[in-house]
């Protein structure tokens, strides 16, 4: 896969950084001239992925979250959100809508459902005790002016 542009950043798993993370990704993606709706979907999907790291991966600790964004051909972005937290035992179950291990936190259990619905493709890799990475791919519409 040819990468046309790439950026990476990492930050501490504090909930006050959720806004920073989605804003940073959307600022970078802005160079592809996405529609407001596409940008909003990307921001929402990133917010879900980062929140999962904070709420689940680093439940009782502060750890590091890394985000990589690649721009690849066909006006497509590939966003990877990675942590070195507790990992997911059963990915399939974790991705079921309404499944949550944190009901006390008032989590709706919709994180993965939103990521799936707001991007074209998502893949999740996880090793219990090692961490999780979530990769999301989304093709953006081509504006007429871009030919």
């Amino acid at each position: 896969m040819k990468v046309l542009n790439e950026m990476e950043f990492s930050f501490e798993s504090r909930s006050s950084n959720e806004s920073f993370a989605r804003s940073a990704v959307s600022s970078f993606v802005a160079q592809l001239d996405p529609t407001i709706s596409e940008l909003n979907e990307i921001r929402t999907a990133v917010s879900e992925a980062v929140t999962n790291c904070i709420v689940h991966a680093y439940k009782n600790e502060i750890g590091r979250i890394s985000v990589t964004v690649k721009i690849v051909p066909e006006n497509t972005v590939v966003i990877k959100v990675r942590d070195s937290g507790c990992g997911i035992e059963n990915i399939q179950q974790a991705m079921e809508p309404l499944f949550t291990t944190a009901p006390g936190e008032e989590r709706a259990g919709l994180g993965f459902a939103v990521m799936q619905s707001f991007t074209d493709r998502i893949s999740v890799r996880s090793k219990p005790g090692k961490g999780t990475s979530v990769t999301m791919r989304k093709a953006l519409s081509r504006r007429v002016s871009n030919g």
Partner: protein, 110 residues
């Protein structure tokens, strides 16, 4: 994120301004629940007209307030929901609770 609150004839209105995520939802939740317990309103209105962003934390926020108002025998309305949040609202299945009103819409016409 900021909230402004009014209480009028048993109707508690909380207007949320800014972005709702896991971080800010916790703040709104704490403030709103304290008021619900102190004032025991018969109706809670969450005004979303100035919400600029929301992820699924906002869904949790709505579901939680729906439950709490139910426990106290009251009702919840979520009003002035901007168009860009609709996809998420639909995905969440919150429509079944019949508490969501779009911007410029009254529940009666829904």
């Amino acid at each position: 994120m900021k909230t402004s609150v009014t209480l009028d004839d048993g109707v508690l209105t909380v207007k949320i301004c800014g972005e709702i995520d896991h971080h800010t939802a916790a703040l709104v939740r704490k403030e709103t629940d304290t008021l619900i317990q102190q004032k025991r309103p018969r109706e809670l209105i969450l005004d979303f007209s100035s919400v600029t962003f929301m992820d699924s934390s906002g869904i949790g926020l709505i579901m939680g307030r729906y439950r709490i108002m139910g426990l106290f025998g009251g009702y919840l309305r979520v009003v002035n929901v901007p168009e860009n949040l609709e996809k998420l609202m639909i995905l969440s299945g919150l429509g079944a609770l019949k508490v969501i009103e779009r911007r410029g819409e009254m529940r009666e016409s829904a």
